[in-house]
Amino acid sequence: MAHPIPAVQMRGIHKAFYGTTVLDDVDFEVLPGEVHALAGGNGAGKSTLMKILQGVYSMDRGTIAIAGQPVQINSIHEARANGIGMVFQEFSLVPSLTVAQNVFLTAEPLGRGGLISDREAVRLAREVFAEMEVEVDPKAVVADLGTAYWQLTEIAKALGQDARVLIMDEPTASLAKHETEALFDLVERLKARGISIIYISHRMDEVYRIADRITILRDGRRLLTEKLTDVTPEQIVEGIVGRKIEGLSYRHRGHETDAAPLLEATDLRAGSRVNGVTLTVRPGEIIGLAGLMGSGRTELARVLFGIDKLDSGEVKLHGKVVTISNPQQAISHGLALIPEDRRAQGLVLEHSVRDNLLLPLLDRTRKGPFLSATAARELSERLISHFAVKVDNPGRPVRLLSGGNQQKVVLAKWLGTEPDLLILDEPTAGVDIGTKSEILEMIRNLADDGKAVIVISSEYPELLAVSDRILVLRDGAVSADLPRRDIADEETLQLAVQGVHS
């Protein structure tokens, strides 16, 4: 069998930042019509390698060939001219423009007198979407659309500018299950058209589902490139983290099931998304909240934490009725919420790691009316080592940390307040598998210490790994209350969430 000419061939790529080698002699190739997964822990060099391919960074040594032709890629523009398209993890559209305007940004079709023809752009965008076999209104303003449509628009943007190779970085991170399925169908169709896809994901099931081959990077070197039929998930995970991972499967933890409830919420109603939720959480218990997008999980968390107003219903903590109408009250009652979007809601990105950690703890670092720098340093050092945050200098902005470490800072920040009840909304979104297992282990340890934990997650394996009990939310109410031992596997949970009773 003749070896086809690779769509992208990177050879001997070497890159160092300020004398630190980030990529060391890395080879990477993608065949036409291939989905090639790129895996590696935080700092393994995945994103640097991709940024070199996109023209964001220049390489120190190495060669790149596109469809067999050696090329120089020195700018984003040149990458695009060579048919490299990118679907970003952090969406990179202009929200105030329409879908069609975004798709053809900088490549607008020109009409009479060299002026932009938006009508032509709409027509061409329709063609691109038709080829993708999805329906998106090209005239809609991007800000008014849901994230799934943003992503389709990004893919259309790459295809509309004749990309032959698409880089997808965690494309399913913000998608619901059915949206993910639709994305996979689309990937299949793109493959059939000979478009190559470099797929970056921490989710092993997805990689197995759609990728043909996988390349694993570790510490800036290529560890292996294999067909997925030839490697086991355990080998991949071990390859990524360099050790065996244990935290990702369920471990039974004995906790007192008849302890007095810590939180009792009765018939909570708020806005249009929370329609009569009743739930009980005991100390030492981990409750998983499952549900589709829009089922009211996040809204329930916001109500419990006093961010959104409760219309009716009763909240009891330690058997006493309490009113929580703002986050300050929630914190003083021993609640902590670790929000979904850590960048927007959990961290002040430009502030230092230390300042972020101490924000909820300022009272404890006070001497008289002033903040004590020494107390602050000691407290933050303690939190950093306790939660194993990898940071060289706690005085540097938290923005510079990797996603996983940022999430640890958010966790550490709230755990520093020593809450009784912890609500975590998508605690492992966008973190690598090693950090994920650490975070799950952290959650278990907290529960073992007698804290009650509510975990909201769209990742069923994660919920199944950590929860003692799973509540399924549907249309703002609890539709099923399942003890962990009654859930046989992911499929059972999936069916419960979809509302199919077997």
């Binding site: 990179s92 423009l97 659309l145």
Partner: protein, 331 residues
């Protein structure tokens, strides 16, 4: 990512019989049209209330247009700056400095050097503003705040605070003092700036890149747009346009004076925001800006006719502007 059609909000206007009028109104994005609604409402209000005081006379209406013209010109440039998520506070004093530079050059060297001197003020200030913002990354608010003082100070300094008369009739008639056919020249100038400004912002790649840079700079950068250059260019445009406005002041009032244009930056910003351009960048409407400027002119005129003194005018004007901007907010 379902395969079903996502209905755009506009399509949703086809209400069934059971939906009330309120529902329909709620779904129409009327926030975008607030400026036009406000313009019509205020116009009708004054027409009814002040019809007897000559509000509707063609003379008065032309007056409103004439008085609004220079602000409109400045505001067209400002639309680009704000759509790009920057601000230019120096436009008013640039207009003043351009008016005196132009007047002094005309009396010393003649017509063409005068016009070039006026334009040069805009180009130089715009280059400095744009350079400091795009190269050094200093916020435009601070750069142009400093420039506001510098330009005003230089204008006062080089003239020793004295008005600089312009005796060149060609200049005075061309720059706002005369008429083009039946139409006052100032109105023609404003119309040209609005027309060119609207087409460039909506229909050229440059305009689109301004909006993209203002809407999401990272996205624009990753799409291959040179966002620094765009930021530089919008500030250059704004200062240059302001310098033309300064010459329009000079032509209409047959003199250059350091006070011309003082405070115009605030009227121009108000006109831009009233017109529906987002203060956070990413959207811009030059036609809206024109109506914003007209609304401000309308209010000024009406309040004078109504016999309010200037202190009362300021209060009422402020209230109306806050009200209109509050209504135009999306949420």
């Amino acid at each position: 990512m379902s395969h079903t059609v996502q209905k755009a909000p506009a399509d949703a206007g086809t209400a069934t019989a059971s939906t009330s009028l309120m529902d329909v109104l709620k779904r129409v994005d009327w926030h975008r049209y607030v400026i036009y609604i406000a313009f019509v409402v205020v116009f009708l209000f004054f027409a009814v209330l002040l019809g007897d005081q000559g509000f509707l006379s063609s003379n008065n209406l032309l007056n409103i247009l004439r008085q609004t013209a220079t602000i409109t010109v400045i505001a067209v440039g400002m639309t680009y700056v704000i759509a790009c998520a920057e601000i230019d506070l120096s436009v008013g004093s640039v207009a003043g400095l351009a008016s005196v530079s132009c007047a002094m050059a005309i009396s010393n060297w003649g017509l063409v050097p005068g016009i070039l001197a006026g334009l040069a003020v805009g180009l130089v200030v715009g280059t400095i503003n744009g350079g400091l913002v795009s190269m050094l990354g200093i916020p435009s608010f601070l750069v142009t705040l400093g420039m506001l003082g510098i330009a005003a100070g230089v204008a006062q300094w080089i003239t020793s605070s004295a008005p600089q008369p312009i005796l060149n009739d060609t200049f005075n008639l061309t720059f706002g003092g005369g008429d083009f056919g039946p139409i006052p020249g100032l109105i023609v100038w404003a119309a040209v700036f609005v027309a060119v400004g609207a087409v460039v912002l909506n229909k050229t790649r440059f305009g689109r890149q301004v909006l993209a840079t203002g809407g999401n700079r990272t996205a624009a950068e990753f799409t291959g747009i040179k966002t620094r250059r765009i930021k530089f260019q919008v500030l250059l445009i704004s200062a240059t346009v302001a310098s033309v406005a300064g010459m329009l002041y000079a032509g209409r009032l047959q003199s250059g004076r350091f006070q011309w244009g003082a405070g115009d930056e605030l009227s121009a910003i108000a006109a831009v925001i009233l017109g529906g351009t987002s203060l956070f960048g990413g959207s811009g409407a030059v036609i809206g800006t024109m109506f914003g400027a007209l609304l401000i002119g309308l209010i000024n005129n009406g309040l004078i006719l109504a016999g309010l003194d200037s202190s009362q005018q300021q209060v009422v004007r402020g209230v109306i502007i806050i009200l209109a901007v509050a209504l135009a907010r999306k949420k």
